[in-house]
């Protein structure tokens, strides 16, 4: 109980203290809002622009989670295929690495040209950023099953499918979750960065477009308001992936043992 309370209270207190210091600094020094807005002003701006910001927020969330789901599905399927066929891995893994190491801002303009729908191109961009950690972690997980258990399954004449179900999939799960924790944040980064590259084009737009617009008009408080929503989304993804990890691994995996 005390542990839990400390885990919530300490970071909350630290956060509030930082905000208070920020507020005090702005007020005491009389820093103008177009240089650094106070937290209270950011909050008020957020409230005043809630309607337009919420629509953009939902759009960014849609791109982020869409890309994350695609990354999860694509990464896991590809990792399973690589685990079953060494040849396939040798053939395709270099492509995955090339996609991973090429900065997304450099690829995004091309994708935006090739793909008609802005939403689809943003999804593709965020997917490219997010899928590699899932792929590479799951692949490592599939390869790190206990060799003795592997022998045991061989001895009992298990089929490939049984091996995957009884041994490889559960062994890979902790690695997959670790990959997902990274990919969750990356999907959000991908969604925002790709939208920056796209510019404020298209009918539906996300938080990046709000930040761009506000910067053109030097509405610094509004930039901060949109930024706050991006940051909160990232924190929410982090907390959700931790909760998922605890739910799936909490009973047996050392990484979740308190």
């Amino acid at each position: 109980m005390t542990r839990w309370r400390a885990a919530v209270l300490v970071p909350a207190a630290a956060g509030l203290a930082a905000l208070a210091a920020w507020e005090a600094l702005v007020r005491l020094r009389g820093i103008p809002p177009y240089i650094l807005p106070a937290p209270s002003l950011i909050l008020r701006t957020l409230w005043d622009n809630l309607d337009s910001l919420l629509v953009s927020w939902l759009y960014t969330i849609k791109i982020t989670f869409g890309a994350l789901l695609l990354a999860l599905a694509g990464g896991v399927v590809l990792a399973a295929a690589f685990a079953l066929s060494r040849t396939l891995e040798l053939a395709l893994f270099p492509f995955a690495i090339a996609l991973q190491v090429t900065p997304i801002v450099a690829i995004a303009p091309l994708i935006l040209i090739y793909v008609d729908s802005t939403t689809a191109s943003l999804l593709i961009c965020a997917f490219i950023v997010a899928f590699f950690p899932v792929l590479s972690n799951t692949l490592i997980g599939l390869r790190s099953a206990d060799p003795n258990l592997q022998d045991l399954l061989t001895l009992y004449g298990a089929t490939r499918w049984q091996r995957l179900r009884w041994l490889l999939a559960p062994s890979a799960l902790p690695y997959l979750i670790a990959g997902l924790k990274i990919s969750g944040g990356l999907a959000l980064i991908g969604a925002v960065v790709a939208e920056f590259a796209a510019g404020a084009a298209g009918r539906e737009t996300g938080l990046a477009s709000r930040i761009l617009e506000a910067s053109f008009r030097t509405e610094i408080p509004k930039m901060y308001a949109a930024l706050t929503l991006v940051a909160l989304t990232g924190v929410a993804i982090y907390l959700a992936s931790n909760a998922l990890s605890r739910a799936l691994l909490g009973r047996w995996h050392p990484s979740e043992r308190l």
Binding site: L149, D151, L152, T154, L155, Y156, L167, L173, W252, H253
Partner: protein, 258 residues
């Protein structure tokens, strides 16, 4: 009566040139309890892996029931030095694994698993995860899993080496009771002279690398054996013979005894 397990002039060389086993010939009668004793790295485990079909001999023949290993699925079970349990699965699900691979439905497989666990004194721990069990308990689960398929050959690779002496003695007695009840041919690898003599009808002594057979000793002590046997002169006499065989091999030819 023909041999249950037979190795004829078996050589095993691993990639990299390590010669694990050299010109090894062994024949084990059905239902016999045989120990394979030797210093670390003498190829004892390799012999078990050859019999289980997990390794192929470089030369010579390994036969189970008169047939070359791998030609048909033999009812062989294997107990590793580590308990080798799936950390995500309960004790009963671990024990049920061989049955599940043989496509027996979950409910009847679990029911059999609970009976097997009761047979090793773990009726009340069926739902426990491996992390919640002591080392001795985990090994009991491992033995229950090995016996659930009613194998007619049981291969044990130093299963009790990592346990404390009290637990080890207890498990020796339990293993003998289960062997007497189910009657499989047992091939038990150990580096403990006392354990080998206590358990077996025959002790095969192997030399250091590459593994060769240096002695084949009969232990004509009656079953059931009980703890008190460890203090009796005829037991110690057998231990002495086995130790002498080990020592003879260790000393260079022509060297006198110290």
């Amino acid at each position: 009566m023909s041999a249950k397990i037979e190795l004829a002039e078996v050589d095993k060389r691993f990639a990299g040139g390590v010669e694990a086993v050299q010109a090894l010939s062994i024949a084990i009668e059905p239902g016999q309890f045989v120990s394979l004793l030797g210093p670390s790295g003498c190829g004892k485990s390799t012999v078990l892996r050859l019999v289980a079909g997990l390794e192929r001999p470089t030369a010579g023949q390994v036969r189970v029931d008169g047939l070359a290993v791998g030609t048909r699925e033999a009812a062989i079970s294997y107990v590793f030095q580590d308990p080798t349990l799936m950390p995500w699965a309960s004790a009963e699900d671990n024990v049920a694994l061989p049955l599940r691979i043989k496509r027996i439905a979950r409910a009847p497989a679990r029911e059999q698993a609970r009976q097997a666990l009761a047979g090793v004194g773990l009726a009340d721990r069926a739902r426990a995860l491996p992390a919640q069990l002591s080392g001795g308990m985990k090994m009991r689960v491992s033995i229950a899993r090995a016996l659930i398929t009613r194998p007619d050959a049981l291969l044990l690779d130093e299963p009790f080496a990592a346990l404390d002496e009290i637990t080890r003695h207890r498990l020796n007695d339990e293993l003998l009771a289960l062997w007497a009840e189910q009657g499989p041919t047992a091939l038990f690898v150990t580096h403990s002279v006392f354990e080998a003599v206590y358990l077996s009808q025959r002790v095969l002594v192997m030399s250091g690398q590459p593994g060769r057979l240096v002695a084949d000793l009969t232990v004509d002590l009656p079953y059931p054996r009980a703890a008190v046997l460890r203090l009796q002169p005829q037991f110690l006499q057998h231990c002495r013979r086995v130790t002498d065989a080990l020592e003879r091999d260790r000393l260079p030819a022509g060297a006198g005894r110290p």
